[in-house]
């Protein structure tokens, strides 16, 4: 059974239909990259999978571990092991990083029937993960993303992912706004998360991140559909030739309605 099976997914935001029939199968252990030009629907796909309100599903099915993902509330998706690393992590003054994350982790552990972690065990766990992302201790005492630089926010997303240990991680433009050093740190964090029982979907506009997080599969999203799929070499080709040729190909393959 595939970890994630998306069939004919159509969705809109406001009045605009953005996803027009996405098909995508992701198995445990795989890393997929979803690429595409701006406005192609990459972020919409990521957000629909995470259950963001106001993203209205018009049709299609999404099975996660064989279960209907689309009927689940966002918190249930998270507890079932789905994680979205936000393109724009939200700043929340007054909510401490550490406490928030402990609360999130324990809500997931309760759902799995596991014992909750106390403060000591939790600190033991996060210290290790913080080193991985090059975060110092003061970070835990700060408010959630409040006043963080762009790079700190992205590192925090991957740090959360490392602590929450999802089965399916979707990274929405995690590379945007990162300098090369920060990009390496983030990619390294992601790479250590690669595992047989976990899948990672990397949504990105640029090939650059894929030099560091090497995907097993690359998909090009164009005009709300997966227009082309391939291996890693597809990303390299996109980098050289841009997205235009894929869009042209897709348009030829699907002639305009009579």
């Amino acid at each position: 059974m595939a970890l994630l099976e998306v069939k004919g997914l159509r969705a809109r935001v406001g009045d605009r239909e953005i996803l027009k029939g996405v098909d995508l199968t992701v198995n445990a252990g795989e890393v997929h990259a979803i690429m595409g030009p701006n406005g192609s629907g990459k972020s919409t796909l990521a957000n629909v999978l995470a259950g963001r309100p106001n993203y209205e599903v018009l049709g299609g099915t999404v099975l996660y571990e064989g279960k209907d993902l689309l009927v689940m509330k966002p918190e249930l998706r998270a507890r079932e092991g789905l994680f979205l690393a936000f393109q724009y992590p939200v700043e929340i003054p007054g909510v401490g990083n550490a406490y928030f994350l402990k609360s999130a982790l324990n809500s997931i552990r309760r759902h799995r029937g596991e014992e909750e972690l106390d403060a000591m065990d939790f600190m033991g766990l996060v210290n290790e993960k913080m080193k991985l992302l090059g975060l110092d201790e003061s970070f835990l005492g700060r408010s959630l993303n409040d006043g963080f630089s762009g790079g700190e926010k992205k590192r925090n997303e991957i740090f959360q992912m490392a602590v929450l240990e999802p089965r399916l991680a979707i990274l929405d433009e995690t590379d945007s706004g990162l300098d090369i050093d920060a990009l390496k740190v983030v990619a390294n964090g992601v790479n250590t998360m690669r595992a047989k029982d976990r899948a990672i979907v990397v949504v990105t506009h640029y090939q650059r991140l894929l030099n560091y997080i090497v995907p097993d599969f690359v998909h090009v999203l164009s005009n709300g559909r997966i227009a082309k799929s391939g291996g890693r070499e597809l990303a390299v080709e996109l980098e050289k030739r841009g997205y235009g040729w894929v869009e042209d190909e897709a348009a030829r393959a699907q002639p305009a309605a009579p």
């Binding site: 918190e75 939200v90 929340i92 007054g94 406490y99 928030f100 999130a104 997931i108 929450l164």
Partner: protein, 446 residues
């Protein structure tokens, strides 16, 4: 005067108290009372046409008959009844007033020599000359008829006098408790805080109602700071939800003094809170903070005024409101920078969080600037819970209701964290959390 005039019962009560209770007053106090009641008689209660009161309909107060607590109410309570409203683990001095009058327990500890912390009634009885130079010198009768009423009827409260250079390290808590009576009663707590040059003190006032009674608290506090004096003042208003509360605080600051006031309003059906402050000499600093969190049919009106009369003073004002149910909030802020008050630095901020569609807030920030070399700004915002933030928390496994509670508490926290009296901060934290759904989960996340 027509017998249905709302002033009549107050004038009548003043006469009877004058015979029965105020008879032993020193002459200066009798004069003061007479001036005050005359002032009240002259101006009467404000109406919606009175500019400073236009968002607050006082009819529920003016149409009710409140008997002076001094005539009808008991002034003692068994300790177990007080316990729920006292601060737990409190290290300072604590004075208790029941229905406006001093009561037990009365704990005074850790005071340096010469510091006076006690009942105003007692001070007026035993050493009126120590009170006279300060009482009603700053909370003027002209501005606010409720202050005039309080002055006419004042009987008890706290008198805190910190002499030159004395530093009171432990906070002083003044607890005003009202109990339900057969007929609604009005109490007039009056506090006087005098901090002489170089003195330091922290004072917290709590107003609490027991038995969800209907009553009226009309409280006035005057605080005077000498040169280099430091005062941290707090107010925790948790009256019964059927109670009326009108409170006035007047702070007057001397040269290079440092004052803070943090005013928390959680209770009361109809609440008006006036905080007025003046810088009378150079170099003063002020932090004026507030948090109002109301629900149901509660109405809370905050009226603040900061007067920069002299150069090089700094004021920071932050008021935040959380409004649920059909509650209504008012924030009115006015910072006046007088002519010649150069190098004034003043920031005023009001933020409101509306938790229901029926809740409403009027926010009227204001700056009046008559000097030309100043740094001043003000801002006001009112909004709902940020849905992006809710989704962010949910996407990490936190359920919708808990996410909303977490964000509500986080909004309040900016003010809660400014409270430097641990016992009050934790009491407030518990009170705020207890109103939120899933408070255990919220506590874990903070």
């Amino acid at each position: 005067m027509d017998a249905t005039d709302p002033r009549v019962p107050y004038l009548e009560d003043f006469e009877s108290l004058g015979r029965e209770v105020f008879g032993d007053d020193p002459a200066w106090l009798r004069d003061l009372r007479r001036k005050a009641i005359a002032r009240f008689q002259e101006v009467g209660f404000p109406t919606l046409k009175t500019e400073a009161w236009k968002y607050t309909n006082l009819t529920p107060i003016t149409r009710s008959r409140f008997r002076p607590a001094a005539l009808v109410a008991g002034d003692g309570l068994p300790p177990d009844r007080l316990e729920p409203v006292m601060f737990g683990k409190f290290e300072g001095s604590e004075l208790v007033f029941v229905n406006g009058r001093s009561s037990r327990p009365r704990i005074v500890r850790g005071l340096p020599e010469g510091v006076r912390v006690g009942s105003l009634a007692q001070a007026l009885r035993e050493e009126p000359a120590a009170v006279e130079p300060f009482l009603a010198r700053h909370a003027g009768l002209d501005g606010n008829p409720f202050t005039a009423l309080n002055t006419a009827f004042l009987q008890d409260g706290a008198f805190i006098h910190v002499p030159k250079g004395a530093v009171v390290e432990k906070p002083i808590h003044l607890l005003f408790v009202s109990t339900a009576q057969d007929e609604p009663a009005v109490a007039y707590p009056r506090n006087l805080i005098v901090v002489e040059d170089g003195g330091q003190v922290t004072v917290t006032e709590s107003y609490a109602g027991l038995d969800n009674g209907v009553y009226f608290t009309n409280a006035v506090t005057e605080a005077v700071l000498g040169e280099g004096a430091v005062l941290d003042h707090y107010k925790l208003q948790r009256e019964s939800e059927r109670a009326f509360h009108v409170g006035g605080l007047q702070i007057v600051q001397g040269r290079a003094s440092n004052a803070s006031d943090t005013s928390i309003a959680l209770g009361g059906g109809l609440v008006r809170n006036d905080v007025n402050q003046r810088f009378t000499a150079e170099g003063g600093e002020l932090a004026m903070n507030g948090l109002y969190a109301v629900t149901g049919q509660q109405h809370v009106d905050n009226h603040t005024r900061i007067e920069h009369e002299t150069p090089r003073c700094t004021s920071r004002e932050l008021y935040k409101g959380i409004l649920d149910g059909r509650s209504r909030g008012v924030f009115y802020g006015n910072i006046v920078v007088h002519k010649g008050a150069q190098k004034t630095n003043a920031v005023q901020t009001n933020k409101n969080l509306l938790l229901s569609k029926e809740a409403l807030v009027d926010s009227i920030p204001g700056l009046q600037i008559y000097a030309n070399d100043v740094k001043c700004k003000h801002g006001s915002s009112t909004g709902q819970i940020d849905e992006d933030a809710v989704f962010y928390l949910r996407s990490r496994g936190i359920d919708l209701e808990t996410a909303r509670s977490i964000l509500t508490y986080a909004f309040a926290r900016e003010v809660v964290d400014l409270i430097r009296v641990p016992a009050m901060r934790s009491t407030l934290g518990v009170l705020l959390l207890s109103r939120l759904p899933n408070s255990d989960a919220v506590r874990e996340a903070l």
